[in-house]
């Protein structure tokens, strides 16, 4: 199973991660729109890591289940964690003067989205997109 992991520390890593995911998605035969959806979701999640946790990692994995192909992104950090996940997932909620569209937007762009966050320990997000 194909998997690529890289660390996220700065803005250049964000671009590298989304470019990498886009390439894999293209190879898997995802549509142009899906490629952009995936790249955008990664951009949001990776930026949150840089912004709120300073550094973390992203893993991009190819999924193959019963003939279906998909792509999984796993973004993890050991940052401060999110005090109220439900609130953070609400459109427009931001503690940094952003649009507050990153988390809820990324969730809508992907097929499945799971977020685990513990105060003082960090945040892990696993999101999947299946080929239509």
């Amino acid at each position: 199973m194909l998997e690529r992991t890289s660390s996220i520390e700065n803005e250049l890593d964000i671009i590298a991660a989304r470019r990498c995911a886009k390439e894999i998605a293209k190879e898997l035969g995802f549509s142009t729109v899906d490629q952009v959806r995936i790249a955008t979701a990664i951009s949001e999640l990776a930026r949150n890591v840089v912004l709120y946790a300073k550094n973390g990692s992203i893993a991009i994995r190819v999924l193959c289940e019963g003939g279906r192909k998909g792509l999984e992104i796993l973004v993890a950090d050991n940052g401060p964690g999110i005090p109220n996940v439900e609130l953070a997932m609400t459109d427009g909620y931001s503690t940094s003067g952003g649009l507050g569209a990153g988390l809820p937007g990324a969730k809508r762009l992907m097929d499945t989205f799971r977020i685990d966050s513990k105060l003082g320990q960090g945040t892990t997000i696993v999101a999947r997109k299946w080929k239509a």
Binding site: I14, R19, V36, A39, T40, P104
Partner: protein
């Protein structure tokens, strides 16, 4: 790695063509540069051409909205041109519809739009 966005001038209109992928610092510098340009007297409009930009996320969207807001305060209309279908679909799904921002299919149409807007005023 550093990417400058060329900002050109046609008549009294500013045209900025965003290339490839910008990282956050580029975006911030781009915003500063644009605002400096349109502050010049006789600026009649600004077109931001996104034809070749591959990903527009919430950060870039916020920047575009900010630019429009600040330009608006200076009485300079802004048109976003050349967004690709995939980017448009992604933005709408994210709930970012750039409400109130003027758009055009391509540079030429953007320019026409600004010229017409000028005439009406």
């Amino acid at each position: 790695m550093h990417q400058q966005v060329p900002i050109l001038k046609i008549d009294d209109f500013w045209i900025a063509s965003v290339q490839g992928s910008l990282h956050d610092q580029d975006v911030i510098e781009f915003k500063e540069a644009l605002l400096n340009k349109i502050m010049q007297p006789k600026s009649r409009g600004l077109i931001i051409d996104l034809t070749v930009l591959d990903v527009v996320d919430s950060f870039v969207t916020k920047t575009l909205i900010d630019i429009r807001g600040l330009a608006g305060l200076m009485g300079v209309p802004v048109v976003i041109a050349g967004m690709s279908p995939a980017v448009a679909i992604t933005l709408v799904e994210m709930g970012l519809n750039l409400e109130g921002v003027d758009t055009a299919l391509n540079l030429q149409k953007g320019l026409d739009k600004l010229r017409n807007a000028g005439k009406e005023r």
